[in-house]
C-alpha cells in the first residue's frame, strides 16, 4: 500500500524519477512538425555529426534500421507511425529523433536536422472532410491493418475517404415516429478539443536484451501496450514486458500506446535502453478529447413526452484513429440519455482531420453527448412552455424501461437523482439581483455513462507465512485510489486488517491480465477479481486444514484471519507455516458479458449504467458576458462505496474537470493548422480561485452493488451550468466552452441557431441522414 507520507515527501515512485535502468541509457529528443499537413523530406546527415550524439533518425531511417518493414501502431487500426513517414498529418507530430547520453547533445543535434514541408490541403472540418475530398485531402489513402488489441471491434468504413468509423443505432422506427410527432425540434451542439492535463507528461523507457524488451511506461493500459508493441515488432506477447510505477494523473490520455512504440523501436535499433519523455507542448498534441458536432432531431408530444429521436454526430478523430472507433460507440448509445425513447436512431461518424489524434478522455464521449441531449431538453421545455424538470421527469428511464440499445433497465435511480438536483439549493427563490448588470440562474442536468463491456480482469492473491497478503494486479494506480479500494476488498473478504495487505505495481511478466485501467471499472472489475481470488483462498485454506486435521471440510471455518478445524485453530500464516506450503496462491477473475449488434446497435452496451445529476447556480454579467458558477451540487448513484474519502474526491475532481470544459478550456488551431496552445499559460485549467462551492451526494448503501465513480460526475457539469445560464438569461447556449464573447453574442441574438420546429411531412433532408 502507498504510505501517504511518501506523497507529502514527493517520494511516490514515478517514472520520471527512475534514473537507473541499466548501463548506456540514451535520452531521446523529438523534433515535431510546425505544420499540419504536408509531404515531408527529412535530412539528418548534419545532425549525426554533432558531438556526443549516438544516432538521429527520421521515420524512414527508423524503419530501415529495423529491417525496412512499415512500423505502424494503433489500438484498433494500425495507422500511426512512431515517427512521421513521407507525410505529416498534424502539427506537433514527431518527424525526427536524436539520441544521446546527455540530453543536451540530443537537443543540439535536432537544431541540425533539416526538414522540408510540401503543403497538402488542410482538413479541419470533420463534416466537410467526409464529402469526397479533393486529391491529397484524404489523410490515409491506404487502409490500415487491424490491431489485435481490440479484435472484436467491427468497423463501418469507406476506404479512400476520411471516415474512421460510422456507428449506428437503430431502435424502432425513428423516421416514422418523427413523422407522427406533435413537434419535431432540431438542434445542433458543438464541443471543442480538450487537453487531458495530467501534470505528469507522457514518458516511457525501453530496455532491450537479446531476447526481450522491457518497457517501463506511465500507461493506464499495460496489457494493451504489450500487444500493441508485440504486433508492431512482430514478436510474441511474452517477448515484451510492460511495467508501470504510480502515475501522475492520466484521465484517459495514457490509454493505449502513445510514445511506447517509439521508445521500443529506438531501443531495438540501438540495442540500448532509451528514454522518451515529452514536454508539455508535445503532450498537448499527443492526444486530445474529441471535438464534436451533434445534430439532434427529437419528436415530442405537447405534454413533453419524447417519442422519437434521430442523432447525427461527427467526432473529430484527428490524424490517427487511436480509440475513436470505440469512443463513438459510447457516444452513440450516450445520446439516448437517461430517457425512455421508443424510436431512436443514432449515426455517429469518427472522421480523420489534421488535428492531433483524439482518444479516451475522462467520460469517454458521454460529456459531449450529455451537453447536446440535455441542452436540447432545455430547448424543448422552453419551446413548449414547460418546466425543464417536468420534461425530464416524464421521460425518465425506470426499472423495466428499454434503453437506447434495447436493454431492459434495472437499478435505475434517475427519479432520486432528479429529486436531489431539484432540491440541491433548497426551495427558496433566488435572491434579488445586484448589480443590475448581473443576472442569476439555476439549472440542472441528468446523465448516464456506460463502462467498458465486455471486459475481463484477473487477479491473484498470495498468502505469506507471516499472514501478510499480496494482491497481484495490473490495475494502474494514478490517483484514483484503486489500490486502496482493492486492499480494502481483499481485507474484508478474508477478515484481516488492511495493513497486512499490499497491492502490486503492474508488470505484465508477473501480474495477471487486466483489460485496462479506465472507464471507472477497476473497483467493480478488478475488485470482483480480487474478491473471487479471496473466495478461492478461503476454500483452499479450508481444504488444506481439513486434510491436515483429518476433519470433514464442512467442519472447517475460515474467517477473521483464522482457520478453525475441529478443535484446532490456526492463523492464516500459521497454517501456511505448519503445512510447509511456502506460500499459498489463488487466482480470481471478473468477466462482464455484453456487446451490440453491428447492424442495429442493439444489445448490452454496458455492465453498469453510471447515473448522475448536477445542479448549478450561476451569475451572468450582461455587460461582459462573464459566467460565474457560485455553487455546484453533484449527485451520483454510488451504490456501495468502498473507499468513501477518495470516492468523494473523485467526484469533486470530476466536477472540477467539467467546470474547465464549460468555462474556458479549448484546444484550438491557428489558421495554418498549427496548435494554438503551446503551454499551460495558453491552455488554462481550473485553479483554486476558479472554484465554486462544491457539494457532493454519494447515493446508495452498503447492500447495493458497487458502481464506478471516476467519471460519473463529469457529464452533468457542462449541461447543468448551461441550463443555469439559460435560466438566468433565457438563452440556451449550444457551443462549448461558454466563453464571454459567445455569451454576449447569444444575448444579442437570442434566436437559437440551427433550430427548426418542422411540421410533419417536412422531411426534405431526412433521406440523406437516414441512408
Amino acid at each position: 500500500m502507498i504510505d501517504p507520507r511518501t506523497k507529502v515527501a514527493g517520494g511516490l515512485p514515478m517514472l520520471a524519477d527512475l534514473a537507473d535502468v541499466g548501463p548506456g541509457l540514451l535520452h531521446a529528443r523529438l523534433l515535431t512538425a510546425p505544420v499540419a499537413h504536408a509531404r515531408l523530406a527529412v535530412d539528418t546527415a548534419a545532425a549525426r555529426l554533432v558531438p556526443g550524439v549516438a544516432a538521429v533518425f527520421s521515420g524512414r531511417e527508423l524503419e530501415a534500421a529495423l529491417g525496412g518493414r512499415p512500423l505502424r501502431f494503433g489500438p484498433v487500426l494500425r495507422d500511426q507511425p512512431p515517427l512521421a513517414v513521407e507525410r505529416v498529418r498534424y502539427a506537433g507530430e514527431p518527424v525526427a529523433v536524436a539520441l544521446a547520453t546527455d540530453p543536451d547533445d540530443a537537443d543540439e543535434a535536432l537544431r541540425h536536422v533539416t526538414v522540408t514541408y510540401d503543403p497538402l490541403p488542410l482538413v479541419t472540418d470533420p463534416v466537410a472532410a467526409l464529402d469526397l475530398p479533393p486529391s491529397g485531402a484524404v489523410l490515409h489513402p491506404r487502409d490500415a491493418e487491424p490491431s489485435a488489441a481490440f479484435p472484436e471491434i467491427r468497423l463501418r468504413r469507406e476506404p479512400g475517404t476520411n471516415l474512421v468509423n460510422h456507428f449506428v443505432i437503430r431502435k424502432g422506427d425513428a423516421p416514422g415516429a418523427l413523422a407522427r410527432a406533435d413537434h419535431v425540434f432540431t438542434d445542433t451542439f458543438t464541443t471543442p478539443a480538450m487537453h487531458h492535463g495530467a501534470l505528469e507528461n507522457h514518458i516511457a523507457l525501453a530496455v532491450p536484451d537479446a531476447e526481450r524488451l522491457v518497457v517501463w511506461s506511465a500507461t493506464q493500459t499495460p496489457y494493451k501496450v504489450r500487444v500493441q508493441l508485440a504486433e508492431m515488432l512482430g514478436v510474441a506477447l511474452d517477448r515484451v514486458a510492460v511495467r508501470t510505477l504510480y502515475l501522475g494523473g492520466a484521465f484517459g490520455a495514457k490509454c493505449y500506446a502513445k510514445i511506447e512504440p517509439l521508445a521500443a523501436c529506438l531501443a531495438r535499433a540501438m540495442d540500448r535502453p532509451v528514454r522518451v519523455s515529452l514536454d508539455r507542448a508535445q503532450s498537448l498534441t499527443t492526444v486530445t478529447r474529441h471535438a464534436t458536432r451533434s445534430t439532434i432531431e427529437t419528436g415530442v408530444r405537447a405534454d413533453g413526452r419524447i417519442t422519437a429521436r434521430h442523432v447525427t454526430a461527427w467526432f473529430d478523430a484527428g490524424a490517427y484513429a487511436d480509440i475513436s472507433p470505440r469512443v463513438i460507440k459510447n457516444g452513440a448509445y450516450g445520446f439516448g440519455g437517461p430517457y425512455d425513447i421508443d424510436d431512436i436512431w443514432v449515426d455517429v461518424y469518427a472522421v480523420y482531420t489534421n488535428r492531433p489524434p483524439a482518444g479516451a478522455f475522462r467520460g469517454y464521449a458521454s460529456p459531449q453527448a450529455a451537453f447536446a441531449y440535455e441542452g436540447q431538453t432545455e430547448q424543448i421545455a422552453r419551446r413548449l412552455g414547460l418546466d425543464p424538470r417536468h420534461v425530464r421527469r416524464v421521460n425518465l428511464l425506470r426499472d423495466g424501461s428499454r434503453n437506447v440499445t434495447g436493454e431492459s433497465m434495472t437499478d435505475c435511480h434517475y427519479d432520486t437523482l432528479l429529486d436531489v438536483a431539484e432540491n440541491a439549493f433548497g426551495r427558496e427563490p433566488i435572491p434579488p439581483q445586484w448589480p443590475e448588470s448581473e443576472v442569476r440562474g439555476r439549472g440542472l442536468a441528468l446523465t448516464v455513462k456506460g463502462t467498458n463491456t465486455p471486459s475481463v480482469s484477473q487477479a491473484a492473491v498470495l498468502l505469506n507465512r507471516d499472514g501478510s497478503l499480496q494482491v497481484l494486479t495490473s490495475t494502474v494506480e494514478m490517483g484514483q485510489g484503486a489500490h486502496l479500494a482493492l486492499a480494502r476488498l481483499a481485507a474484508e473478504a478474508l477478515g484481516i486488517g488492511e495493513r497486512v495487505v499490499s497491492v502490486s505495481l503492474p508488470d505484465t511478466d508477473v501480474t495477471p491480465y487486466d483489460q485496462q485501467t479506465s472507464s471507472s471499472r477497476s473497483t467493480i472489475a478488478m475488485g470482483g477479481a480480487v474478491r473471487d481470488a479471496c473466495r478461492n483462498l478461503r476454500e483452499l485454506l479450508a481444504r488444506l486444514a481439513a486434510d491436515h486435521c483429518g476433519v470433514p471440510a464442512e467442519q472447517v471455518q475460515v474467517g477473521d484471519g483464522r482457520v478453525r478445524a475441529g478443535t484446532a485453530t490456526f492463523g492464516y500464516g500459521e497454517l501456511v507455516t505448519v503445512l510447509r506450503a511456502g506460500q499459498l496462491r489463488c487466482e480470481g477473475e471478473y468477466a462482464s458479458k455484453g456487446g451490440l449488434d453491428h447492424e442495429t446497435g442493439q444489445g448490452i452496451a454496458s455492465s453498469r449504467w453510471h447515473q448522475a445529476s448536477g445542479a448549478a447556480e450561476v451569475t451572468v454579467d450582461l455587460e461582459t458576458g462573464r459566467i460565474r458558477v457560485l455553487r455546484y451540487h453533484a449527485a451520483v448513484w454510488a451504490g456501495r462505496v468502498v473507499n468513501p474519502v477518495e470516492a468523494r474526491m473523485q467526484v469533486e475532481g470530476a466536477v472540477i474537470l467539467g467546470l474547465g470544459s464549460v468555462l474556458g478550456e479549448e484546444l484550438g488551431l491557428d489558421p495554418a493548422g498549427g496548435q494554438a496552445q503551446r503551454d499551460l499559460l495558453d491552455y488554462r485549467m481550473p485553479a483554486l480561485s476558479d472554484l465554486p462551492e462544491i457539494t457532493v451526494d454519494l447515493l446508495g448503501g452498503p447492500d447495493d452493488e458497487i458502481y464506478g465513480l471516476g467519471e460519473t460526475a463529469v457529464p452533468p457539469v457542462a449541461p447543468a451550468v448551461a441550463a443555469a445560464v439559460a435560466d438566468a438569461t433565457g438563452v440556451v447556449l449550444t457551443d462549448l466552452p461558454l466563453r464571454p464573447e459567445r455569451v454576449l453574442a447569444a444575448l444579442r441574438d437570442p434566436r437559437p441557431h440551427h433550430h427548426r420546429d418542422s411540421s410533419p411531412g417536412d422531411r426534405a433532408d431526412y433521406e440523406r441522414i437516414a441512408r
Binding site: 507520507r5 515527501a9 517520494g11 505528469e200 474526491m649
Partner: protein, 197 residues
C-alpha cells in the same frame, strides 16, 4: 550554439542546508540541477512555463518555479525542497495536515502545494481563507483535490499558530509544533521515502 559552447560550470548551492557542488550548463534550470545532479525528485516538471506550480521550491523562503530559474542565478540563497521539509521522525505540520485531510490524489502536484503553503504560513501565520486561496492559485491539481487542499492548509495554519480563527486553542493532532526554520534537516524526508519500500 552547440553544447560545447555552453560548458558545464561548477556552482555551489545550498540545498536543504547542505552545501553542494553541481556542474550545470548556463541554460540549466534549478529544476534540471535538482533532478539530474542531486537526485531530488520532489520538484517535478509539469509545464516548464511557470504555470502549474509542480516544480515549486523555496528560494530564500519564497516560492519559485524552479523550471524557470537558471541555476546560475540562485547563488548563495538557500533552497528548500520538499525533501528538506520534515525533521527526523516528524513531518512538517503542513505535510501532516495534507495526510490528515487526504489532500491529494495522484500527488504529482503535492510537493508544490505544500511548499507554497509553507512559505505563506511562515510569512503570514494568520493568513485568511481568501489569502490562502489566492496564494495557492498558482498551483494546479488536475485530479481536483482543491477542496481538501484548502481544508488541509487552513488546518495547518491553526496547528502552526496554535489557535483557530475564533481564538479557541488548537487541540488537534500535532498541536504545539514549533515553527520550523530553514535549518530543518533533510533526513526526515529521507526517512519518509524509505518508509515506502
Amino acid at each position: 550554439m552547440t553544447a560545447n559552447d555552453d560548458p558545464r560550470q561548477p556552482l555551489r548551492l545550498v540545498v536543504n542546508d547542505d552545501e553542494v557542488e553541481v556542474r550545470p550548463r548556463g541554460h540549466h534550470t534549478l529544476l534540471d540541477v535538482l533532478r539530474r545532479e542531486l537526485d531530488l525528485f520532489g520538484a517535478r516538471p509539469g509545464c516548464t512555463a511557470g504555470a502549474c506550480g509542480s516544480c515549486t521550491v523555496l528560494v530564500d523562503g519564497a516560492p519559485a518555479s524552479s523550471c524557470l530559474l537558471p541555476a546560475q542565478v540562485v547563488g548563495a540563497r538557500p533552497v528548500r525542497t520538499v525533501e528538506g521539509l520534515a525533521r527526523p521522525g516528524e513531518l512538517h505540520p503542513v505535510q501532516q495536515a495534507f495526510i490528515d485531510h487526504t489532500a491529494f490524489q495522484c500527488s504529482y502536484c503535492t510537493p508544490g502545494f505544500i511548499l507554497t503553503a509553507v512559505s505563506l504560513l511562515e510569512r503570514e501565520p494568520d493568513a485568511s481563507r481568501d489569502r490562502i486561496r489566492a496564494e495557492l492559485s498558482g498551483n494546479l491539481c488536475r485530479c481536483g483535490s482543491y477542496v481538501k487542499i484548502m481544508d488541509a492548509v487552513l488546518d495547518a495554519r491553526d496547528r502552526m499558530r496554535g489557535h483557530h480563527d475564533d481564538g479557541t486553542p488548537y487541540t488537534g493532532p500535532a498541536a504545539g509544533y514549533a515553527r520550523p526554520s530553514c535549518s530543518a534537516s533533510s533526513a526526515g524526508a529521507g526517512a519518509a521515502q524509505a518508509a515506502h519500500s
